[in-house]
Amino acid sequence: MTGVTRTPTHLTQGGTADAGIGASTLRPDGTLKVTGEFAYSSDLWHEDMLWGFTLRSTVAHAEIVSIDTSEALAQPGVYAVLTYDDLPTDVKNYGLEIQDTPVLAHGKVRHHGEPVALVAADHPETARRAAAKISIEYRELPLVTDEESATREGAPLVHENRTDHHAGHVPHPNIVHRQPIVRGDAEAAARRADVIVTGEYVFGMQDQAFLGPESGLAVPGEDGGVDLYVATQWLHSDLRQIAPVLGLPEEKVRMTLSGVGGAFGGREDLSMQIHACLLALRTGKPVKIVYNRFESFFGHVHRHPAKLWYEHGATKDGKLTHLKCRIVLDGGAYASASPAVVGNASSLSVGPYVVEDVDIEAIALYSNNPPCGAMRGFGAVQACFAYEAQMDKLAKKLGMDPVEFRQLNAMEQGTRLPTGQEVDSPAPVAELLRRVKAMPLPPENQWVTTEGADVRALPGGLSNTTHGEDVVRGVGYAVGIKNVGFSEGFDDYSTARVRMEVVGGEPVATVHTAMAEVGQGGVTVHAQIARTELGVEQVTIHPADTQVGSAGSTSASRQTYVTGGAVKNTCEHVREKVLELGRRKFGTHHPAWATAELVLEGGKVVTDGGEVLADLVDVLEGEAVDLELEWRHRPTEAFDLRTGQGNGHVQYSFAAHRAVVEVDTGLGLVKVIELACAQDVGKALNPLSVVGQIQGGTTQGLGVAVMEEIIVDPKTAKVRNPSFTDYLIPTILDTPTIPVDVLELADEHAPYGLRGIGEAPTLSSTPAVLAAIRNATGLELNRTPVRPEHLTGT
């Protein structure tokens, strides 16, 4: 443990009493991050450390005939070269839900970029060059790349001998999971419809494109264990998958969260964790692995590309009659989170609308494409793209305003999802649409200046492609629903340890959780909660590690709800202990100790009438209160595998967008002028962070609307654009003004009434932009991202 520099650090922040919940308190890690001192996982350093490198398959589906590592191992500076045969135990696979992912390829590779061998060397370039000398002979196999090739008779099987718990319920071994939802009689309802619209939609493969590359440092321990410093979304989930492969008990794999440079779902699965540990344990030296950007595109799962078939009907007065839909998600070579993505896509496929009669099916495929799993919005994003396009089509066919049509069919509190579950908290869908529509529109022709056109404000921007000829404006709307937290009966708990003591003459609270701070601001909010509940100013956030119980994942918009809830709950119990301590010390001094409701405020014990009974310093002097408790939200249940019925979700999050675009119809270039958002957040614990999350999520949705897509060659299943040169994410020039209107309708079931917020804005921004482009051009546009050729017909 000695010798590691730049490890994660305790974050201590003072704050006055008004820096509790509801205040826009600043990040406790802000100063470290702006000075370059914050220790991200790729910044870790250890004297005497080696660099690890992963050799990846150059083909998508092949038998491995032979691997020869001798030449690589002979290179000066190389300490170890490992393949599947070097794994220390019989546990050779891992996986989030299904343990189908090999640590290193064995016998065959199933996707382009699959890890095959590992090298440790004294310089990253030495490791890379040695890896290039590993000789692998492949015998290529036929590919599974889409539903047709996956399920036709005699199709090659991606996993020949499936034994997972979904295997018995799927119609074909190349289908990971299938979830039908049937309620009412969609056929009969369709006969009542005055208009019916159908659509076939394609959603491209999106990448999380977090900026901090997959990286970490594994340090072998003297006890035969290993210390792993890593950027991840869920330490304990990693631990559960890592320890068995290493053949170590979990207590000998000590994990500490390093600085995380964004995640967005892409760090839910393991990347370099096991590889670094294997190399460290083999060489007896600390090993650091840092992916470069090229490798990062192979090092994490992507958002499922999808094909969606939708049929909706409506009566002539504008009421939805039914929905029939089928959603095919391409999960790629390994399961990752595909089963849960299927659950979300199906259960949220109607969107935030009242539709009684439904016939829904969602499936995820195994294929030889890159593995897909979690990304912000998780299955709900793809569905939202399709149902919102359908809403516009219906409104157009009925001659109705698209916003009014949505409002007419909007769900509200008490509406039942197609799964039969009642939405039992505020569902202000119509109101969010009203708000976003009511915002003032940006002025027309903003590019016009006294000197002519400011090309920077036009489609094509600095490329100076147009001066305003052929530029038309469009406006589009969309709204979406996202579940918060892990669904379908998952035990979605979190743990918090809170300690209260006097340090330097001041009462101080320390909050210790295993929550992954990935940029979302959880550390800020935890300090705010502790201040509010414990009446202290100084709060220290302990680095996240596995020395405390699991916090669950920083995903599914759940962390403020669940770990925030755990911190609140533990603080409440700590407060009781502190009050007991006070009663013991001072109870005889004042009758209120026994009779009044007491709170901790401004460093004092105060009655509900505002009378001060004692200073916390005096109560705590010489003693510390220290508790670690688990906390759970309401339980959920699995969806029925045939009917899809079940109370599968715990909470919902709603956002609406209005997009204003300008399109150069001659060149097929789009400029998004403005993307206004209205979102219900239940209670904004930190309004500044809430708005930041909404704007960030909105921008990721904008990206997939007009530029972001991992292109997989359908003939070879190889990724064609694994770089920031070719995979484009929005720059500050591509991103418009994003005005945000925050609504706070409390969910009585949630801590402080809060609602998970991170994902909802990613849902509706994509269809809103598409709607605006359709509005500008009159084109149908059924796929995302929209490319110039789709707009110009070339």
Binding site: V34, Y40, V691, T698, F724
Partner: protein, 218 residues
């Protein structure tokens, strides 16, 4: 090979540098300055932006040998750099808006333009060996404080590069329009914020700079 250059006002030297090593690698792994970030190492994201003789560059695209004898400012030195500039009346290089551009292609020019050695030595006021934790003590550059105050930092991985680029923009153009800010920062990707709060931060720093200038009658 051996490479010597000045980083944040201090002479630094690295031995056994491989010819292909980038300035970014040498800064991060050999000189213990990991503030410049390794997000793409392809010159696409701007996370590794540093100033080389005053000019913002992607340090991943500069071979370490190209920095020989030159002046590098990283995010770790931004506060001192800004303080230096403030003392000189708004220009750390002493040649605002002109000299910065001329140094770009002249690797051999050493310290002929950019920060003078004298100025660099004065920046060495920072206690030696205090690299780890000097941010708060040394104070923050106005742009750093503005990023914190405006909520422009989320995961923070893009932040160092954005700070260096934004600081350079404000040095050239104390009152940039939104279009100017967007143009200047278009080489810096951010995946978390949606850029709105970054715009807010630059506007805030500009406004504060303006207030300070007018307030002191300078």
């Amino acid at each position: 090979m051996r490479v010597k250059f000045t980083v944040n006002g201090r002479e630094q030297q690295a031995d056994d540098v491989w010819e292909g090593e980038s300035l970014l690698y040498v800064l991060r792994e050999r000189m213990g300055l990991p503030g410049s970030k390794n997000a793409c190492e392809q010159g696409e994201c701007g996370s590794c932006t540093v100033r080389l003789d005053g000019v913002p560059v992607c340090s991943c695209l500069v071979a370490a040998g190209q920095a020989e004898g030159r002046e590098v400012v990283t995010v770790e030195g931004l506060a001192d750099f800004a303080e230096q500039r403030a003392r000189r009346g708004g220009c750390a290089t002493g040649a605002c808006g002109t000299a910065a551009g001329t140094a770009a292609g002249t690797a051999s020019s050493g310290t002929a333009s950019g920060t003078s050695l004298d100025a660099a030595r004065r920046r060495q006021a920072k206690p030696a060996g205090a690299d780890g934790r000097t941010g708060e003590q040394a104070g923050l550059a106005p742009i750093q404080q503005a990023f914190i105050d405006a909520g422009a930092v989320q995961c923070g991985f893009c932040t160092p590069g954005l700070l260096v680029a934004a600081d350079e923009l404000l040095e050239r153009n104390a009152q940039p329009s939104d279009a100017d800010i967007r143009e200047a920062l278009s080489g810096n990707l951010c995946r978390c914020t949606g850029y709105e709060k970054i715009l807010d931060a630059v506007r805030l720093a500009a406004a504060r700079g303006d207030a300070r200038t007018t307030g002191t009658g300078a």
